[in-house]
């Protein structure tokens, strides 16, 4: 059960969060807890995750409670999944919303599986939106930022200037760092030819960052679209973005820490070519070998021939691209049990089989080259429960 209210200017920030998360996926979880109201989103390929947590003091008033199941007395949270298409239009034209809305109230009616969003505007106008939700336990990604060797904190404007260099046709962006400089560039593919798009690169010196710590020289490649989502949101909060990352293949985290809210985006990165033969890469592989008794081997990482990669990817099921993370639901955490995905009303959920591969057409590049040994949801069930170490926990 959720009941909260916010003012016009808070609605703008809330709306920006929804816009940012809409870049990740078409669905959004509304997840209230004592820590505040979290908005969560995971894309269908499981290569990007976003969460914006609004603390209770962000709102004018904030109430939440667990509901108790009549039959067996178990407590359950609000398991509320909304379609982005239903909720995004409500928060369109944020500038005019900020001017016109005096109060915005959001509350749930669990008897009817609806979220009610009421906008009390000037001149006595009241807009009420009843949005149906699907009961679905939210996904949460746990990512230990403090173990990353590289940390950069930068004002969003600088990143935005860099991102504008890359066209919408270029999906992936590479971030190359050394202790002396940072380079943001188009990711190069093997088969560059005359019809390829412009290759661009931009160098940024360490003094432009608010915090600059590079432990490992590295180059990571990730999807531009989700980064843009995070940038939209950070510009609204005027807070700097912190990037935590390590070696290629390991996901990177983008983080905004603000008094009233906290945003975390975790993006998968492209795994490295084995020609590098650097130790982080082999570490990555051995950890996976221990975990996965999946039939596919890691040798696929080695294929340089892009055609070869394409044919491989068609044979395998869609991969979830998190390395050593625990992809779990919140109740599993509470039970400190195995990270098995649990869903209520699972018949309404899509199976993690080929349908999600269809949706990932845009992410084919990333999907094709990532090593297979990341988990599929269904495969997690076969694995023994993961220990809480190696130190991963949300910051």
């Amino acid at each position: 059960m959720l009941k909260c209210g916010m003012s016009g200017s808070q609605v703008k920030v809330f709306g920006k969060a929804i816009q940012a998360l809409s870049r990740i996926s078409d669905e959004l979880w509304l997840d209230p807890s004592e820590k505040g109201l979290a908005l969560r989103s995971v894309n269908s390929c499981r290569s990007a995750y976003g969460c914006v947590l609004f603390s209770p003091v962000f709102f004018q008033h904030y109430q939440w409670s667990t509901s108790v199941d009549m039959n067996n007395g178990t407590k359950s949270n609000l398991n509320c999944k909304l379609g982005i298409k239903s909720i995004l239009p409500i928060f369109r034209c944020l500038n005019s919303l900020e001017r016109n809305v005096e109060v915005c109230k959001i509350f749930t009616r669990s008897d009817k599986c609806k979220v009610v969003i009421q906008l009390f505007c000037r001149h006595g106008i009241k807009k009420t939106h009843n949005v149906c939700f699907q009961e679905s336990q939210p996904l949460q990604v746990i990512f230990e930022k403090n173990t990353c060797s590289n940390t950069l904190m930068i004002q969003p404007r600088v990143l935005a200037e860099a991102i504008v260099l890359f066209t919408s046709s270029q999906e992936e962006v590479t971030l190359a760092v050394t202790p002396l400089e940072v380079c943001i560039k188009s990711s190069t593919e093997e088969s560059m030819d005359l019809n390829s798009s412009v290759y661009s690169e931009m160098f940024v010196g360490p003094h432009e960052f608010e915090f600059f710590q590079i432990g490992v020289d590295t180059e990571i490649t990730f999807c531009c679209k989700e980064l843009k989502g995070m940038l939209i949101f950070s510009e609204a909060t005027h807070a700097p973005i912190t990037m935590h990352f390590d070696f290629p293949g390991k996901p990177m985290a983008l983080n905004i820490d603000h008094m009233l809210l906290e945003a975390n985006f975790v993006l998968a990165t492209l795994a490295d070519e084995p020609s590098r033969a650097s130790s982080p890469q082999s570490l990555c592989l051995s950890q996976k070998r221990k975990r996965s008794d999946l039939p596919c081997s890691n040798s696929k990482v080695g294929k340089k021939d892009s055609k070869g990669m394409e044919s491989i990817s068609r044979k395998v099921a869609p991969r979830k691209l998190y390395a050593d993370e625990i992809l779990s639901n919140i109740s599993a955490l509470e039970n400190s049990g195995s990270p098995i995905m649990k869903r209520v009303n699972s018949d309404t959920e899509e199976e993690p089989g080929s349908p999600s591969l269809r949706k990932c057409k845009a992410k084919n590049n990333l999907m094709e080259v990532m090593p297979k040994s990341y988990f599929c949801i269904s495969d997690i069930e076969h694995l023994p429960p993961l220990s809480k170490k190696p130190g991963f926990g949300v910051g």
């Binding site: 200037e161 504008v164 560059m192 412009v198 290759y199 931009m202 160098f203 940024v204 003094h207 432009e208």
Partner: protein, 260 residues
């Protein structure tokens, strides 16, 4: 073949960017000709609708440094083909640039490399590089890319303000695909469309007829962002319309053939 040039002045950079945006609006690929004294953007499309464009930029008006070495001593020119939008987009990122350098390079394949030195908020420099893939055009195809001859026109008149013409033609586009351009030696120009139900004429003043495809005309007008110092329209009756625009430091000629 060598080419390197530098633009150090913000106004020149701005103007060059605008010209390249204009070219990008007219066609997807265009030819860039580099000669010791000028750059040309060329669009020759004889097979298609026959629209062709010739744009000349005298290099001293734009570049503070300019060096080139053509294919050979007798043929001291370089012809390359590129996607016009790639160039305009790369130039648009150079809004606050201190300097812009452009040169022909060969990184896996021939590229026009644009290096920009941006001034960031903290007044420190940031380097941005764009490698735009280009295709070198062999000498045997150069024939098709020469400066077109200005036809002997039946009527030659000055153009009215382009923005006005553009808004008129945009509305006309919804009614008909064909536009009749009439001009006479008294300095009158008419834009006329006819359909079954309606006939609309906009008078800029009077006579001398050519029918052209309205979309091509609109495309040409849409590309014009700055009103030229002088714009001349030459009409060869029933054959073609030729627009000759002269800006301060750029000249642009555009040909639209008549619909038969």
């Amino acid at each position: 073949m060598k080419f390197r040039a530098k633009i150090a002045d913000a106004a020149c950079l701005n103007h060059f960017t605008r010209v390249s945006c204009m070219v990008a609006k007219l066609a997807r690929t265009c030819t860039l000709r580099i000669r010791p004294h000028a750059l040309n953007f060329i669009l020759a499309d004889p097979a298609g609708g026959g629209v062709s464009m010739w744009c000349e930029l005298p290099q001293e008006n734009f570049f503070s440094e300019f060096q080139m070495e053509g294919v050979s001593e007798d043929n001291n020119a370089i012809y390359v083909e590129l996607a016009a939008e790639n160039l305009s987009r790369a130039l648009k990122t150079a809004q606050n640039a201190r300097a812009l350098k452009v040169k022909l390079t060969n990184k896996h394949f021939p590229c026009l490399t644009v290096s920009i030195e941006l001034v960031s908020v903290s007044s420190s420099s940031r380097m941005v590089t764009h490698d735009i893939p280009v295709k070198v055009i062999p000498r045997k195809l150069w024939r098709n890319l020469q400066e077109p001859t200005v036809p002997d026109a039946d009527v030659s008149i000055y153009l009215p303000v382009l923005k006005t013409m553009k808004s008129v033609v945009e509305k006309m586009k919804n009614i008909s695909n064909q536009l009749i351009i009439e001009a006479n030696l008294n300095g009158d120009l008419n834009l006329k469309i006819e359909s079954e139900l309606v006939c609309v004429t906009t008078h800029f003043k009077d006579l001398g007829e050519v029918q052209v495809d309205i979309r091509k005309f609109l495309q040409f007008l849409a590309g014009q962002q700055v009103n030229p110092t002088r714009g001349v329209c030459n009409i060869v009756s029933h054959k073609m319309v030729h627009f000759d625009l002269l800006h301060e430091d750029v000249s642009l000629q555009y040909f639209i053939p008549a619909l038969s």
